[in-house]
């Protein structure tokens, strides 16, 4: 039978237009009628529909199953960057969904899935491998996915995609009942095909495509499925996810103890996202980093004498659950500043990455101008040396007095890029040079400038960190400066700085370089207190429930406060540590301290009595409380607003339904009230910039806050973490606390885990 014999070409064209939704009304009516009357046309319709179906299937399989070798996305991005760089200045709007959608799209198509480090998508994983290993046993994942990989994975924003292929039992092995942690870190490096293969069994892919799910669930899923691997400290294990601190009943737990943190890297990274008009991954946001990043704007007064000035301020909270009439307590410890003339002389050895990757985006130029800025800030009693490394390391300028500006600037300006990245060699040479010119009366420090560490030479990360640790013990500190990395958090740079008791800084442009090196200069090198611990105690008779905002990773067991062997935070000159507590059910009546704030620290190395700890305390009474937010200090209001922004960005379950607009309004209201700092910088600039950035992503931020994360997951993770901290601290664990935490965990785990909300 040849059914198309009777069908004319015009009829067929009309039919096709009708099928494809292209027919005008009259054509439509004609085809409708003809289809009823003419069996031949009806048969033709079936044939043509089948052809269309075959073609569509073909298109799908061509883009899915077949591995296309991509269309050179990297080259495109470079071209786009070059083109965009011309218009740099106001990088703006992309909505985050564009990226999410694009990422999904790419993952689905498998077009760019060559497993390379894509500057935008992060490490892309080969779909084929992911799909191929779907059946791999989950044990393989447990044993081989290292904490480092997971950290990087999260830093790369992988946490947001995944799928739950079926109910899986939560791990009920109480992984925290282990002995003391053996060491921090591990020897793993991120290897993307391997990582992808490991991830596949975790249910991150389905039908070869990543599927979006709540990030909280995705993270909980990983944690559930991955036991701590051999030798992993609980710190690293829980760095995978600390959760959020819950409200605690003051009657049951009246004391909060935590280590000081002045790290603001989380804020810098998040800011890079916001500047592009994207929301940062929620896990990247640490509330305490946000709060502390604005210390330059608070204008909190430093101590008249002694190391810290302690401040406490209590006022109704401008944010939070209005029904509960929350209060906000701001506890601040401001470290003494060191006048420039009195500071310790510096002996700085710069190890500058001049590998080929420093050429794009003018990274090396940024390094040069940063170094020049720094040199301008140095005094004649400081000394500087310059080591450059690419495939090999060499001394560009031996240790020279900073007063010799000429040769110094000449050496800096002569730096040129090309070659590989022999980080190990560069660091080794810098350390050796620093040791050769070690000055016991000076602050001896190596400063590593790099665009991130792709390859690290022959040594493992562990050996590298051990080397840095050994040098640190000899009195040589290490700072790291990530240059032109955008939002890319380099876990190794962070860890190197942490191990070298220095700071990891990231600079993307001249303005940030100025901020880091000029406005913050003395502070970034001059440690005034070591192992700084904070403790806040509430009067359980007058405070019902409390919650510390942030500082999850800094949690300490209460009994560790006076255990001086515990490693805690370093605080540099002029820096302040700010902690915010949200309080419920507060009664201001009654005598005595409502809250006591204690700070314990040791003097810096080399100072007289370096190992003698000292403790300070301050109290606030009910009668000291302010009646309204408006009467609170600008610093109080600013830190509250910044914390609110952070809580929303990290989808804190405690901030479900919060509005960006309220934060933006408060930031703008408080900005003009901020006191100009001693250095003359504008304290309102960053708050106003944050307000503008938040406003731009407001729609998305509100959506994230509305969604909130599953509170149970946050609570569960933090409970696990706190239990680990409690068990691993030296001394007798508090049996009541442990019983309570175990009960809480059991209760939370009994609720179904892994079910999408």
């Amino acid at each position: 039978m040849k059914p198309n014999e009777e069908v004319t070409a015009q009829e067929r064209a009309d039919l096709v237009a009708w099928m494809l939704g292209e027919a005008a009304v009259d054509v439509r009516a004609r085809v409708d009628a003809a289809l009823l009357e003419r069996p031949a046309l009806k048969a033709e319709r079936l044939r043509l529909e089948r052809v269309v179906e075959l073609l569509r299937e073909h298109a799908r399989s061509a883009s899915g199953a077949e591995q296309v070798d991509g269309v050179g996305m990297n080259a495109l991005i470079d071209a786009a960057r070059a083109s965009a760089a011309k218009r740099r200045g106001w990088r703006r709007i992309v909505r985050p969904l564009a990226l999410a959608a694009a990422a999904l799209f790419l993952a689905g198509l498998g077009l760019f899935s060559t497993g390379r480090l894509d500057p935008w998508l992060g490490e892309t994983a080969p779909q084929s491998e992911m799909a191929a290993s779907l059946d791999a046993p989950a044990d393989a994942a447990k044993s081989a996915l290292t904490a480092e990989q997971i950290k990087q994975l999260w830093a790369l924003g992988y946490g947001g995609y995944g799928v739950v292929p079926g109910a899986s039992e939560p791990s009920n092995s109480s992984s925290v009942d282990r002995g003391a942690p053996t060491h921090k870190g591990d020897g793993g490096t991120l290897d993307s095909p391997e990582l992808a293969a490991r991830l596949a069994p975790l249910g991150y892919v389905e039908d070869g495509a990543a599927v979006p799910m709540s990030k909280g669930l995705a993270l909980a899923r990983i944690q559930d499925m991955l036991a701590p691997f051999n030798g992993e400290s609980s710190f690293d294990y829980f760095l995978r996810a600390f959760g959020s601190r819950p409200f605690e009943s003051a009657r049951r737990k009246p004391i909060a103890t935590f280590a000081a943190s002045v790290d603001t890297a989380s804020y810098s990274h998040a800011r890079a996202y916001l500047e592009r008009g994207e929301l940062p991954p929620a896990d990247l946001v640490r509330t305490e980093a946000f709060i502390n990043a604005f210390r330059g704007s608070y204008g909190d007064s430093g101590p008249q004498n002694g190391t810290f000035a302690l401040h406490l301020e209590l006022a109704p909270s401008p944010f939070g659950d209005v029904q509960r009439a929350p209060w906000l307590l701001r506890a601040t410890a401001v470290a003494r500043d060191v006048p420039r003339g009195e500071r310790t002389p510096l002996a700085l050895t710069f190890a500058v990455d001049v590998s080929g990757s420093m050429a794009p985006l003018n990274r090396l130029e940024l390094v040069k101008s940063a170094l020049e800025l720094l040199v301008e800030e140095l005094d004649s009693f400081d000394r500087v040396a310059l080591v450059a490394y690419s495939s090999v390391a060499r001394i560009i300028l031996p240790m020279t007095h900073a007063s010799d500006r000429g040769p110094l600037l000449e050496a800096i300006r002569g730096l040129a890029s090309g070659g590989g990245t022999n980080l190990e060699g560069g660091l080794a040479l810098a350390y050796q040079h620093a040791a050769d010119h070690f000055d016991p009366a000076a602050g001896n420090r190596v400063v590593l400038l790099s665009d991130g560490v792709g390859n690290i030479g022959a040594v493992t990360r562990e050996a590298l960190l051990a080397g840095v640790g050994a040098q640190r013990a000899k009195g040589i500190y290490l700072n790291t400066i990530g240059v032109g990395m955008g939002d890319h958090n380099d876990a190794l740079l962070d860890d190197l700085a942490r191990t070298g008791d220095g700071i990891a800084t990231y600079v993307d442009d001249e303005r940030e370089a100025r901020r880091a090196f000029v406005e913050n200069f003395v502070g970034s090198f001059e440690t005034v207190a070591r192992d700084v611990k904070l403790q806040v105690e509430f009067d359980p008779a007058r405070v019902g429930r409390w919650r510390l905002l942030g500082y999850e990773s800094r949690a300490l067991a209460d009994r560790s406060f006076r255990d001086d062997s515990v490693d805690a935070g370093e605080v540099n000159a002029g820096h302040s540590v700010v902690a915010l507590f949200e309080l419920h059910d507060v009664s201001l009546q009654g005598p005595g301290a409502l809250t006591t704030f204690r700070v314990r620290h040791k003097p810096p190395f080399g100072a007289p009595g370096a190992d003698a700890p000292s403790e300070q305390a301050a109290v606030i009474r009910g009668s000291d409380a302010l009646s309204a937010v408006a009467s609170a200090s600008p610093a109080f209001r600013l830190s509250a607003a910044v914390a609110q922004a952070a809580e929303m960005l990290r989808a804190s379950p405690h901030r479900e339904g919060a509005h960006t607009e309220a934060v933006v309004r408060e930031l703008r209201a408080v900005a003009p009230l901020l006191r100009r700092g001693d250095l003359g910088e504008d304290p309102a600039a960053e708050p106003l910039a944050l307000a503008e950035r938040l406003e731009r992503v407001g729609l998305y931020l509100d959506a994230r806050a509305r969604r909130g994360d599953d509170r149970r997951q946050h609570d569960l993770r933090f409970a696990h973490w706190e239990l680990a901290v409690e068990l691993e601290a030296r001394g007798e664990p508090d049996p009541n606390r442990i019983r309570e935490l175990r009960a809480r965990i059991a209760e939370l785990e009994a609720q179904q885990i892994g079910a999408p909300r």
Binding site: R50, L55, V71, A80, R87, I93, A98
Partner: protein, 202 residues
Amino acid sequence: MPVDAMEEPSDSDLLLAFGRGDVAAFTALAARHQAPLLAHARSLVGRRGGAEDAVQEALLRLAKSPPRIPVGGGEAAGSALSGWLHQVLRRVCLDTQRGEARRRRRERETAPIEAIQGGQENVETNDTRAAVERGLERLSADQREVIALRLFGEKSYSEIAAITGKKKGTVGWLISAGLTRLADELNHLMPGQEAGARGTLR
């Protein structure tokens, strides 16, 4: 409303952002448009005729000198960019068929065959795919292009007309003729002819 229920940014939003120096906006645009572009390029130059190169070239032109598309035109602005890209791609393909890419294609074709394999594991699927492939190759270049644009690129007749410089009526005729030809070529896969015909037709 949850995040996922919100709308994606439009092409013009992304183009605007890229114009302000936002590289991520570009990558989003590239990701959005590359599959239909690739299908279009293949319809013009064949599967191994440098389709990817052509798409890259078109996207590169977008990166280097983004077109001025009316802002705020919503749908119209969106399809304007897509149309622009397809037009650029078309020129690139027609050019490359003559020049440099032909040399590269020859090189690629004489290189050890690896691109040809792929999905051998599923013979049944492969048969169908190969048949569709063959059928497409037997169409005229015009038919192949408009069908690719309509069915792989989901372009409307009007958009296809704008891209190819043909009349809208001609586009309709070409598609109809092409599909009919394919139906004949793929007769064994047609309803009733298929072994164990699948009840997928409405």
